[in-house]
C-alpha cells in the first residue's frame, strides 16, 4: 500500500515579483486521500495547477514523477490523458447544457458516422451518475441542479476520463453539511476503487475525518506532511502548522452588555422571485445594541434571502411583514432607504455583489455613502482619500495604496474593504452574511476583532454563517432557520453544535 503514485520534486514557481512556490516536494501514496491545507495565498492552488498542467512544463522548476515516470505536461489535456483530473473550486460546467453534454464536453463519444451518438452518451452518463450516487436524468440541464449535485456531475465527468488521480480544490466550500457528508462518503468509495485523491480544504474537521495524510503549505513552502493514520493529529495541530503559531483562543473575548433593541422584524414573508413558493415564512427576530445575533441554517434555508429582502427588498417579491428600527416602524423599499435607516448588509459573495473589482480601494470604500462626501452632487475627492486612508489604518487593510485596484487584494483584505464601505455609511445594525468565507485563519481573527469593536461601540450585528463553531464563538444569541421558518432561538450558553444542527434540520424533515 505504501507505493508512491505521485512525486512532485523541488517545485519552484515564480510570477513577476512573487515566488508562489519555493522548493515544494510532495509525495502521494497510491490509493490514499491526501489533504493539502494552508492559508489563502499559501500556494495550494498554484501547486495543483502545476500538477495538472495549467501552468505548462517549463514555466516552473522541478520535476513531476507520476507512476515513477517523469512527466512534462504542456496542458490540461496531457495530464488528463494520464488520468490526472482537477476539479476547480468554481465549477466548470456549462449551465444550459445537459448533464450528459457536460460530462462528455471536450470528450465527445462519436459514432461511426463521426456524429455524436446521444443515446449511447446518455446511457453512459446514466451509469456514471449511478456510480457517484446521483439520481438525475442525464438530459437535465445542469442549471436546474443545486451546487452539491453539480459537484457530483463534475466527479462523474472526471470518472468518464478514466481518472486515477483526482484533485479537488475546496470541494465542500459551497456545500451544506448533508451534501458535504455525501461527498466525503463518495470520496471514500472512490478510494475503495483505487482512485487516489488530493483534496484542498479549509475545513479541518473534514480533513481529520477523511484524509490519510495531510500536507501543510505555508508561504509557498511545504511545511510538513502529517500521517493522519498513526499520528495523534488534531485540528489544533494542523492550524499550528498553517499559521506557524498556536491560536490559544481562536475567538477573541468580548464583554457582552446588550442595550436597547435596534432592529426587529415581525411576520416577515418573502416569495421566490420567479417560482411560486415561499422562501421566508413568518419570520420574526430582533437584535439589540451591542449584541451579536447569529442565524444558523443549512443551504436553502433562506438565510441570505431573508437578509436581502430586509435590506431594501433586494430579493424576492410579495414581501410582507413589519420592520422596526429603534422601535419605530420603517419602510425600506429600496437599498437607499435601508441605508438611510441605518441598515448595512455585507454580502456573502463579495466579488459578485460587494465590490467593484476593477476600481480602487478608495472608491469602493465610499461607494455606499457618497452623499456624505459630496455637496450638491460634487464629490470632495480629497476628503474621500482621507476616509479611505483612515479605513486602511483602522481595518489594517494591507494594500500599497488606497489607489490600488481591489481585485488584486487577497480575500481577507477585500472583505475588510467591504466592511469599511459599510461602516462608512454609519449603520446602527450590520447584517454580515458569511463574513469569513474563503479567507484565511489570520484574517478571520482580524474580522472577529473588528466585529467585537463594532459591538463595543454600540452597533447591533447579525451574523449569518455556515460554520457553527464561528456562531458559537462570536454570538450572544442564535436563531436557527429551516425551510424559511425560525425553528429555534437560544442564548449561546445553551447552544451546542448538536442542538443547533437538530433545529436546523427539524423542519426540513417535516417538509420532506
Amino acid at each position: 500500500m505504501d507505493d508512491t503514485i505521485l512525486e512532485m520534486r523541488r517545485i519552484t514557481k515564480t510570477f513577476p515579483g512573487v515566488t508562489a512556490l519555493e522548493d515544494v516536494t510532495l509525495a502521494v501514496r497510491r490509493g490514499e486521500i491526501h489533504a493539502i491545507c494552508g492559508e489563502n495565498g499559501a500556494g495550494k492552488s498554484t501547486l495543483m495547477k502545476v500538477l495538472s498542467g495549467v501552468y505548462p512544463s517549463g514555466s516552473y522548476d522541478g520535476e513531476i514523477l507520476f507512476d515513477g515516470k517523469p512527466m512534462q505536461f504542456r496542458g490540461i489535456r496531457d495530464s488528463e490523458a494520464n488520468g490526472i483530473v482537477i476539479i476547480h473550486q468554481e465549477l466548470a460546467l456549462v449551465p444550459y447544457l445537459s448533464i450528459a453534454e457536460n460530462i462528455f464536453l471536450g470528450n465527445e463519444r462519436r459514432g461511426r458516422s463521426g456524429l455524436i451518438d446521444w443515446n449511447f452518451a446518455n446511457a453512459e452518463a446514466a451509469k456514471l451518475l449511478a456510480s457517484v450516487g446521483l439520481h438525475e436524468n442525464p438530459v437535465t440541464p445542469v442549471i436546474q441542479l443545486g451546487v452539491g449535485k453539480q459537484q457530483l456531475v463534475e466527479i462523474a465527468k472526471a470518472l468518464s476520463k478514466k481518472v486515477r488521480l483526482l484533485i479537488l480544490d475546496e470541494p465542500t466550500a459551497a456545500l451544506n453539511d448533508i451534501d458535504s457528508a455525501h461527498l466525503l462518503d463518495l470520496l471514500r468509495a472512490l478510494k475503495e476503487q483505487g482512485i487516489t485523491c488530493i483534496m484542498i480544504s479549509h475545513k479541518l474537521n473534514e480533513i481529520t475525518a477523511i484524509a490519510d495524510s495531510t500536507t501543510v503549505i505555508r508561504d509557498g513552502r511545504a511545511v510538513e506532511t502529517l500521517d493522519m493514520r498513526s499520528d495523534e493529529v488534531t485540528q489544533q495541530r494542523i492550524i499550528r502548522g498553517m499559521v506557524g503559531r498556536d491560536l490559544d483562543s481562536f475567538y477573541p473575548d468580548r464583554e457582552s452588555s446588550p442595550g436597547d433593541e435596534v432592529l426587529r422584524i415581525e411576520d416577515w414573508t418573502v416569495r421566490h422571485p420567479v417560482q411560486d413558493r415561499m422562501v421566508v415564512e413568518g419570520v420574526g427576530l430582533s437584535v439589540r445594541a451591542g449584541e451579536v445575533v447569529g442565524i444558523a441554517g443549512l443551504m436553502g434555508a433562506g438565510r441570505t434571502e431573508l437578509a436581502m429582502s430586509v435590506f431594501g427588498r433586494s430579493y424576492g417579491r410579495d414581501i410582507r411583514g413589519r420592520l422596526f428600527v429603534h422601535g419605530r416602524e420603517v419602510q425600506a423599499r429600496t437599498v437607499a432607504e435601508a441605508i438611510d435607516n441605518g441598515i448595512a448588509y455585507v454580502t456573502e459573495d463579495r466579488k459578485r455583489y460587494g465590490l467593484n473589482l476593477i476600481d480602487d480601494v478608495r472608491r469602493n470604500v465610499s461607494a455606499a455613502a457618497l452623499d456624505r462626501l459630496s455637496r450638491l452632487g460634487w464629490v470632495n475627492g480629497n476628503e474621500e482619500i482621507k476616509v479611505a486612508e483612515s479605513s486602511r489604518k483602522e481595518m489594517n487593510i494591507r494594500t500599497p495604496s488606497v489607489m490600488a485596484v481591489v481585485g488584486k487584494l487577497s480575500g481577507g483584505n477585500q472583505q475588510k474593504v467591504v466592511l469599511s464601505k459599510w461602516l462608512f455609511t454609519d449603520p446602527d445594525v450590520l447584517i454580515l452574511d458569511e463574513p469569513t468565507r474563503g479567507i484565511d485563519v489570520g484574517a478571520k481573527y482580524e474580522i472577529y476583532t473588528i466585529i467585537n469593536r463594532l459591538v463595543a461601540a454600540g452597533k447591533a450585528v447579525i451574523v449569518i454563517s455556515s460554520e457553527l463553531p464561528e456562531l458559537l464563538g462570536m454570538c450572544d444569541r442564535i436563531y436557527t432557520l429551516a425551510a424559511g421558518r425560525i425553528t429555534g432561538e437560544m442564548p449561546v450558553a445553551e447552544a451546542t453544535q448538536e442542538s443547533l444542527m437538530e433545529l436546523m434540520t427539524k423542519d426540513k424533515e417535516l417538509v420532506g
Binding site: A336, R352, G354, N356, L357, I358, A367, G381, N382
Partner: protein, 416 residues
C-alpha cells in the same frame, strides 16, 4: 497623472503644511511614471506619433493653420457624440442610434427654420428638445423595461431614420439663414485686432493655459495637504509647460487662419463640463460603479434605473447638439445625414481606452481617440488616398487599439 510613491513614507508632510510644500515633494522617476500611466499615456503617444507621421507624409500641410481649423470643424460633431458615447460605454451600454438622431434633430430644425421661417434659435431649441425626448425614450426602454441597450438603440436607429425621412418628406432642405450657419462655420475674430493674426484667439489660448496651470497647481496643493502622492515639482512644471506649448501652438495656428471657431468653444465647454461630471460628481461615480459591477452598485444603494435613464437622456441631448452642428456645417438637412456616425463615436471611445465590459474610460480619452481618427482621416484625405483604403486603415487601427488595451490589461494582471 500621479505616481504611486507615497510622499508620507518618503518625506512626511504634516496635514496642514503650507502650500509651499507643493514645490518639494513626489517622485521624479520618469520611467515609473510612464509605466504606471502606460494605459493612459499610450493613446497620447499614439496621437503624437500619428500627427508626426501625417505631418511628414503631407509635407507639413496637416499642421498648416487652414487645415487645423478644418480638422476642428470637420470632426467636432463626432467628438460631441463621443462624449455621450463614452459615458454610456462606461456604464455598460451602447447607443447605435446617434447617427439617426443627428439626422432627425437636424431635420426638425431645418423644417422649422428653413420651411416655416422661424428664427434660428427656435430651430436649435426644438432640436435639443427632440434629442432629449429621444434619449428619454431609449432610457425608458433600457432602464425601466430592462431591454438591452444594443436592441433598444438598434430599433432606435431604424425608427429615427424613418422619422427623419418622414419629417423631411424624403427631400433635402437648404440653406439655413446665416445666423444658423455661424454655429459650425462661425469664428470669433478681430475682436482685439492684431497684425496678420487674431489676438483674441491667442488671449483665449493664454487664458486656457493659465487655467490649466492654476487648477493643476491647486489640485497638487490639496493632494499634498491630504498626504497623497504627487509627481515631483520639476515634472509637474514640465507637464504644464508641454501642455501649454501645445495649446499655444494650436491657438497660434488658429489665429493665423480664421480665428477661434465657435464650435471649438462649444466643444471645449462640453469637454470641461463632462470631464468634471464624470470624475467629480456623484452621478459620474455611479456611472462607473454600475459599469464596474452592476450588482454591487445596486446593493450599495445606487439608483441604477435612474442613473441609466439619465445617461441616455444625456446621450440624446448631445446627439441633438451634434445634429445642430452638423446641419449648420452642411447648411441644410439631408435624409441620409449622420449615417455611420455612431460607429465613429464608438470607435473614438474604445480607442480612447474605454473597456468593452464597462466601468473603464474617460471623456478626455475618448476625445484623444476621436482626434486620432480625425487626424488619420484628414491626413489620408490630404494624401489623396481613396475612401476604401481609408476605411481599411481605420478598421485596423480600431482593432489594434483594443487589442493593445486587452494585452496591456492582461499583462498588468488586473482582476478580470
Amino acid at each position: 497623472m500621479t505616481s504611486i510613491k507615497t510622499p508620507s513614507t518618503e518625506r512626511p508632510t504634516p496635514p496642514d503644511s503650507p502650500p509651499t510644500a507643493a514645490l518639494h515633494s513626489g517622485t521624479s522617476d520618469l520611467r515609473a511614471l510612464v509605466l504606471n500611466n502606460l494605459r493612459q499615456s499610450g493613446i497620447y503617444v499614439a496621437l503624437v506619433v500619428i500627427v508626426a507621421l501625417f505631418a511628414v507624409l503631407t509635407d507639413g500641410v496637416l499642421l498648416s493653420p487652414g487645415n487645423i481649423t478644418n480638422i476642428v470643424l470637420q470632426y467636432s460633431y463626432i467628438l460631441v457624440l463621443a462624449i455621450g458615447m463614452v459615458i454610456l460605454i462606461i456604464g455598460g451600454h451602447i447607443d447605435l442610434s446617434v447617427g439617426s438622431v443627428v439626422a432627425l434633430t437636424g431635420a426638425v430644425s431645418a423644417v422649422l427654420v428653413i420651411q416655416q421661417g422661424h428664427p434660428w434659435w427656435i430651430g436649435v431649441l426644438a432640436a435639443l428638445v427632440v434629442g432629449v425626448a429621444v434619449g428619454a425614450w431609449h432610457g425608458f426602454w433600457v432602464a425601466y423595461a430592462g431591454i438591452p441597450a444594443f436592441i433598444v438603440t438598434l430599433a432606435g436607429m431604424l425608427l429615427f431614420r424613418g422619422l427623419t425621412l418622414r419629417v423631411l418628406d424624403n427631400i433635402s432642405l437648404s440653406p439655413f439663414p446665416s445666423e444658423y450657419q455661424q454655429v459650425a462655420a462661425g469664428f470669433l475674430n478681430g475682436l482685439l485686432g492684431g497684425q496678420g493674426f487674431d489676438a483674441f484667439t491667442l488671449l483665449i489660448g493664454a487664458i486656457a493655459v493659465a487655467g490649466y496651470a492654476v487648477s493643476g497647481f491647486r489640485t497638487r496643493v490639496a493632494r499634498i495637504r491630504y498626504q497623497q502622492p504627487v509627481e515631483s515639482f520639476p515634472l509637474f512644471v514640465a507637464r504644464v509647460v508641454l501642455v501649454g506649448a501645445v495649446l499655444m501652438y494650436f491657438a497660434w495656428q488658429l489665429a493665423h487662419a480664421r480665428g477661434l471657431p465657435i464650435v471649438l468653444i462649444i466643444l471645449a465647454v462640453l469637454v470641461l463640463v463632462y470631464g468634471l461630471l464624470t470624475r467629480r460628481t456623484v452621478f459620474g461615480r455611479q456611472v462607473y460603479a454600475i459599469g464596474g459591477n452592476l450588482s454591487a452598485a445596486a446593493l450599495s444603494g445606487v439608483k441604477v434605473r435612474t442613473v441609466n435613464f439619465w445617461m441616455f437622456v444625456n446621450m440624446g441631448f448631445l446627439a441633438a447638439v451634434a445634429g445642430v452642428i452638423y446641419s449648420s456645417r452642411s447648411n441644410g438637412a439631408q435624409p441620409a445625414a449622420g449615417n455611420m456616425f455612431e460607429l465613429d463615436a464608438i470607435a473614438a471611445a474604445f480607442i480612447g481606452g474605454a473597456a468593452v465590459t464597462g466601468g473603464v474610460g474617460t471623456v478626455v480619452g475618448a476625445m484623444v481617440g476621436g482626434l486620432i481618427m480625425a487626424v488619420m482621416s484628414n491626413g489620408m484625405q490630404l494624401m489623396g488616398i481613396d475612401q476604401s483604403t481609408q476605411s481599411v486603415v481605420k478598421g485596423l487601427v480600431l482593432l489594434v487599439a483594443v487589442a493593445f488595451d486587452v494585452y496591456n490589461k492582461r499583462r498588468a494582471g488586473t482582476a478580470r
